[in-house]
C-alpha cells in the first residue's frame, strides 16, 4: 500500500482533516486502531488511537491534547506524536520495547465542539459548548470539571467565566467519557495531558498545596523529562505541583487520575515564545512537537521500567 496522504503535520487543520488522518494512520499500521470512546455535547465523536501490539488489557499509557480548544498547537503536536509512535515502532528501540509490553491510547482532540467553534466562530474559545441551564452563557472549563477538589479555589462558579467549573463534577460528556473509559479499562499506569502555553511540566496536586505521596519520584521524573525537552532547542520548562507552580486549581484532570491510582499523572504546558501565547504560528508546530516528544518518551520508558 502506498504510504502517506500528503498530510502536512506542520500546519493547522480542521477537525474533519484531523479525523481523516486518524483513519489514515489506523489503515496504515496494523497495530493502530481508531476507537470511539463517546461523543461530545454536540454529538461529535471522541476518537482515540489505540496502539497495541497484542495481549489482553495490558498496562496502558494515556495521552490527550486539546481539552482547551484554542490551544491549537496541542492537537497538532498530538497528531505528529501519533505518527511518530506509529512510524518508530520496529525501528526505535524505546518505542518498540514500550509497545511490546504496554498499550498506548491517544486522544488528539479532547474537546471537539470547542475546537470546531474556534475554527468557525471564536478563535479565543477554550471551554466546551454545553448549554448552561439558567444562564445566557455556554460552556464549562473541562479542566475544572473532574471529581477531585471540584468547585474549589482556582475555578469559577460563574457560567460566563472561562474557568467555570460546571454545574457538577463530570457534568461535561467530554470529561465523563474519559472518566468512564479510564475506569472501565482499569489498568492505566500513566496519564499525560497536553496544554499550551507557558512551559510547565506539572504533577498533582492542584486543588491542594500538599505534596503527593509520590512527590520525590514525580519531581525527579519531571526534571528528567524537562531536561529532555531542553536538549533539542534549549526550551526551559519549570517543574512542580500545579498548586505551587502556577496556582491552586480545583477539579483538574491529573488530580482525578492520580486520586484514581494513576501514579504517573503529568500535565504539560507547551512552549511559549513570549510573542504569541497560545496563538503559536504553524512554523512552531514541528519544533514544539519534536521537543515535547523526548520528554514524553522519557516518562513512558520510566513507566515501563517501574511497574507498580
Amino acid at each position: 500500500r502506498q504510504r502517506g496522504t500528503g498530510f502536512d503535520f506542520g500546519t493547522y487543520h480542521t477537525l474533519e482533516d484531523i479525523y481523516a488522518e486518524l483513519d489514515h494512520l489506523a489503515s496504515e499500521y496494523s497495530f493502530v486502531e481508531k476507537i470511539q470512546i463517546g461523543q461530545s455535547y454536540e454529538k461529535r465523536p471522541l476518537y482515540v488511537l489505540k496502539f497495541s501490539t497484542g495481549g489482553s488489557n495490558r498496562p496502558a499509557i494515556w495521552l490527550d491534547a486539546g481539552i482547551h480548544s484554542r490551544e491549537w498547537v496541542t492537537q497538532a503536536s498530538a497528531l505528529w506524536i501519533a505518527n511518530k509512535i506509529a512510524s518508530d515502532y520496529g525501528t526505535d528501540a524505546s518505542v518498540t520495547s514500550l509497545l511490546d509490553h504496554m498499550d498506548l491510547f491517544l486522544l488528539p482532540v479532547a474537546n471537539p465542539d470547542g475546537f470546531v467553534y474556534t475554527h468557525t466562530s471564536n478563535r479565543m474559545w477554550r471551554k466546551t459548548r454545553s448549554k448552561i441551564p439558567g444562564s445566557v452563557c455556554y460552556g464549562v472549563d473541562p479542566n475544572r470539571n473532574w471529581d477531585a477538589g471540584f468547585g474549589g479555589p482556582g475555578a469559577s462558579k460563574n457560567p460566563c467565566s472561562d474557568s467555570y467549573h460546571g454545574p457538577s463534577a463530570n457534568s461535561e460528556v467530554e470529561v465523563r467519557s474519559v472518566v468512564d473509559f479510564i475506569k472501565s479499562h482499569g489498568n492505566f499506569k500513566a496519564f499525560l495531558t497536553l496544554h499550551s502555553y507557558s512551559q510547565l511540566l506539572m504533577y498533582p496536586y492542584g486543588y491542594k498545596c500538599t505534596r503527593p505521596a509520590d512527590y520525590a519520584e514525580l519531581e525527579s521524573l519531571g526534571r528528567s523529562a524537562a531536561n529532555a525537552i531542553k536538549s533539542l532547542y534549549g526550551t526551559t520548562f519549570q517543574v512542580g505541583p500545579i498548586c505551587t507552580t502556577i496556582y491552586m486549581a480545583g477539579g483538574t484532570t491529573i488530580d482525578w487520575t492520580y486520586a484514581n491510582g494513576v501514579k504517573y499523572s503529568f500535565s504539560l504546558e507547551l512552549r511559549d515564545t513570549g510573542r504569541y501565547a497560545f496563538l503559536l504560528p504553524s512554523s512552531h508546530i514541528l519544533p514544539t512537537a519534536t521537543e515535547t516528544w523526548p520528554a514524553l518518551l522519557d516518562i513512558m520508558v520510566h513507566v515501563l521500567e517501574h511497574p507498580y
Binding site: 502536512d8 466562530s121 496556582y247 510573542r275 496563538l279 504553524s282
Partner: protein
Amino acid sequence: LETFVGHQVLRVRTSNEEQVKQLQLLESLEHLQLDFWINPSASAVPVDVRIPAASVQSVKAFLESHGIEYSILIEDLQDVLDQEKQDMARAAQ
C-alpha cells in the same frame, strides 16, 4: 465569526503580592471584558491578558497608576488571526 480588531494582549509582571491583588481586582471588573490567558496568582508568575480595544487605555492607565510593569505581547490580535488564516488557506491549497 467574531473579530478581535484592536484587541491587545499584555504580559504583566508583578513585583509583590500587593500588585497581584490589584490585578485580581482588575480581573473582577466585568465591564472591561478582560480575558485572562494566565490568571494573577503569585508575583513570580507573569499574567497575560487579552484586552478589547475599548478597554486598552483604561487598563494601561490602571497598571501605570499602580506602578505595575507590562509589555505588549500582541499589538493587534486580529492581525495574528488573519495571518493564521492565510497560513491555513495556503497549506490547504
